[in-house]
């Protein structure tokens, strides 16, 4: 997993609530058995005017000119500014895979759906929860910026800095923050506790033998 330390990047604003994972990556692309290659189909139904098919060359498809990511000023955006309850719905990890493959490393919203929030950390994406007022302020700042808004996100310090020096602080669990800062493989980390797991398992079996009976 790619580590996340400091990111300075362009913001793409997606001002709507309840953006679900079906919207982030529609189901027909879930047939892939790979982890990569989902970027061109990120927000497929919002981004293109036709219905997307897996394994299709997206460069030939009609774009929806109104959609934010199709506007020239947002090309190369790596920070997504979003509305309430971002990432709700299906648990598909294809959603963070698609965001990452497209180039997003950080998502800022007033709230996230639990499973999506969790999935982000497994993939080197930093989801930041700010208050409604702060997110609104960022939407305003974005709106006011002519050349597009660039933010600096510092995970070590847990602070977002605007070009004018204004700062917003955020909070990430220490464990998750460390994993992300160092790009750690979580399975390897857990397996360091293999003895503890085995000891638990033995006690568990004693207490609940039916969970270990062959059927």
């Amino acid at each position: 997993m790619q580590a996340f330390t400091i990111l300075t990047g362009l913001v793409a604003p997606l001002e709507r609530d309840n953006v679900d994972t079906d919207m982030i990556i529609p189901k027909q692309f879930l047939k892939s058995i790979k982890r990569s290659g989902f970027g061109p189909n990120l927000f497929d139904e919002l981004r293109y005017l036709d219905e997307g098919q897996p394994d299709q060359d997206c460069s030939q498809r009609p774009l929806n000119p109104d959609f934010i990511l199709n506007q020239p000023c947002y090309q190369g955006a790596s920070i997504l500014l979003a509305g309430r309850n971002f990432g709700c719905g299906s648990s598909r990890e294809h959603a963070p895979w698609a965001l990452l493959d497209y180039g997003f490393r950080c998502i800022i919203a007033p709230s996230f759906a639990d499973i999506f929030y969790n999935n982000c950390f497994k993939n080197g994406i930093l989801p930041i929860t700010l208050s409604e007022t702060e997110v609104e302020a960022l939407f305003h700042a974005e709106n006011a910026a002519n050349e597009g808004l660039k933010l600096t996100v510092d995970l070590q310090q847990q602070v977002i800095t605007l070009p004018d020096g204004q700062q917003f602080s955020f909070n990430i669990d220490e464990f998750r923050r460390n994993c992300l800062l160092q790009g750690l493989d979580e399975i390897g980390l857990t397996l360091q506790q293999a003895d503890e797991i085995k000891a638990f398992e033995a006690r568990h079996q004693q207490q609940f033998p039916w969970l270990f009976a062959a059927h």
Binding site: E15, R16, D17, N18, D20, D22, M23, P26, K27, Q28, L30, K31, S32, I33, K34, R35, E45, E51, P54, D55, G83, R84, N85, C88, G89, S90, S91, R92, E93, P96, S111, A113, D114, I115, N118, N119, K122, N123, D173, E174, F175, E186, I187, T190, L191, Q193, E196, I197, F200, E201, H204, Q207, F208, P209, W210, L211, F212, A213, A214, H215
Partner: protein, 473 residues
């Protein structure tokens, strides 16, 4: 010390080690797998040369991509017309064989939607932690299990370590007081709950459903309620153990037997919240206030009683919400203020992990018996949740009732719930669906989904528009 909630008990009995930040390594008793969210996890295991920690806790079945027509199904995996789906289903088979995981493959009569199959087999038991790379894993909480969806990286983590790194959620109690009125089903109850607390209302919580309105439900109905906990934002929903739970489990293939059965039942009876347990949030609904529900928008919280009207965005004060309602009505092709019962349907889908168990099919069959689907309905699909549900329904003659009514009787799978296979809506088509999500494009590009109970879907198929099932004759 204050008493513990059911969720507290389930959590406490599975913590391998706790971290200072509130997260913990949680031991997993049952891991369910399907073809869509597992290939990348298995690939990860292979690349790291890791093996599953404990094979016997894993159970796999393909469901999302499998075709549901008898013709396509006759030739097993080779018969899947869509080559990309075929590869995915084949990959599950290959991975299960390679790693030695128990799979109910496509031709096995026990195959079906993973959340129908687990409970039906007795593979979901009270007191267990159950996970699956699918958000509707919350279904299994109906058995007083701690059950929730996980992402693919976590699927790999559980395979490799039998544990999940997770954080404890907060406790929410949703009480449904009083007996349910005639014609009001589990689906209406859960839609009404979501309508009240919203799709983010349960975010960060594990919800326990309680009260007479819940207690009186069968296990099938309880699964319907817990299934949609995730639509209220809660990863996990659960219901305490009682006689209904225990009766359901007895004799199921994976359920404990003999001496173990007695031992298990004694333990299971403790899986209820203590009387003095404290919840972070308590929501109460009166059963008598709940009417048959229909969703009119593109989020499950956009729901209303069948007797009411589609809302008017002008009456919403919050600008983002107003915009949300307008956008939804535009997508759904509905006029503000129109009667829900005036919504005309093009297709009907009776199926999915929410409502494709035997009781759901019985309820639908009772409504359509001796009647015929309206001429304006292009298709009415009935898709049983598993091969065993299908067999049971056929033994009861339900399939004949559906077929005589002009409905299609299909093979088990997720089907038009998410339209990954050939079963889907055309752009602009309205569908009365017993599934759990009405998101834009969920049932097909441009498709318009209305979530309802099986009886309401069946009645809509006959009438061609929504009708109040309480008036049905």
């Amino acid at each position: 010390m204050a008493g513990r909630t059911l969720y507290d008990k389930l959590w406490d009995s599975h913590v391998v080690s706790a971290r200072d930040d509130g997260s913990a390594l949680l031991y997993i008793d049952r891991h369910l797998l399907h073809e869509v969210t597992s290939p990348q996890a298995f690939e990860g295991l292979r690349l790291a040369q890791r093996k599953p920690w404990r094979l016997d806790t894993n159970l796999a079945t393909p469901d999302h991509n499998v075709p549901t027509t008898t013709k396509e199904r006759a030739h097993g995996i080779d018969g899947i017309a869509d080559p990309i789906s075929q590869i995915q289903v084949k990959t599950l088979d290959d991975n299960c064989q390679y790693f030695g995981i128990n799979e109910f493959a496509m031709k096995d009569q026990r195959q079906g939607i993973v959340h129908v199959v687990g409970p039906e087999q007795g593979a979901t038991l009270p007191g267990m932690t159950v996970v699956c790379g699918d958000s509707h894993t919350s279904t299994h909480g109906a058995f007083a299990a701690l059950a929730h969806g996980i992402g693919t990286s976590e699927v790999e983590h559980v395979l490799a370590t039998q544990c999940l790194v997770t954080k404890k959620m907060k406790n929410m109690l949703v009480r449904v007081e009083g007996a349910l009125p005639h014609g009001v089903t589990a689906k209406d109850v859960v839609l009404a709950i979501i309508g009240q607390i919203g799709t983010a209302g349960g975010t960060g919580y594990a919800i326990e459903f309680a009260g007479e309105g819940i207690r009186s439900l069968s296990m099938e109905g309880r699964m319907t309620v817990c299934n949609m906990a995730i639509e209220a934002g809660a990863r996990a929903g659960m219901i305490a153990v009682d006689e209904t739970t225990i009766d359901y489990l007895q004799g199921r293939p994976f359920a404990p037997q003999g001496e173990h059965w007695q031992q298990a039942v004694t333990y299971w009876r403790t899986l209820v919240s203590d009387p003095d347990a404290e919840f972070d949030e308590v929501i109460t609904l009166q059963s008598a206030d709940i009417q048959p529900q229909v969703t009119w928008g593109t989020s499950p919280e956009m729901v209303a009683p069948v007797t009411s009207q589609v809302p008017d965005p002008k009456q919403e004060a919050d600008p983002t919400r107003r915009e949300g309602i307008s956008r939804a009505l535009h997508y759904m092709g509905l006029t503000p203020g129109m009667a829900i019962s005036d919504i005309k349907l093009d297709r009907v889908f009776i199926g999915s992990c929410t409502n494709a168990r035997i009781e759901d099919l019985r309820a639908a069959a009772a409504v359509v018996k001796g009647k015929h689907v309206a001429a304006t309905i292009k298709q009415a699909l009935v898709v049983p949740g598993s091969g065993l549900v299908k067999a049971q329904a056929e033994q009861e003659g339900l399939h004949q009732i559906f077929i005589s009514a002009g409905m299609e009787w299909r093979e088990p799978g997720c089907s038009m719930c998410l339209a990954m296979n050939a079963d889907k809506l055309g752009a602009g088509e309205h569908c009365a669906s017993t599934s759990n999500r009405n998101f834009e494009g969920r049932q097909g590009f441009g498709g318009r989904t209305h979530l309802v109970s099986p009886a309401m879907a069946a009645a809509a198929a006959i009438a061609g528009h929504f009708v109040d099932i309480r008036q049905w004759q």
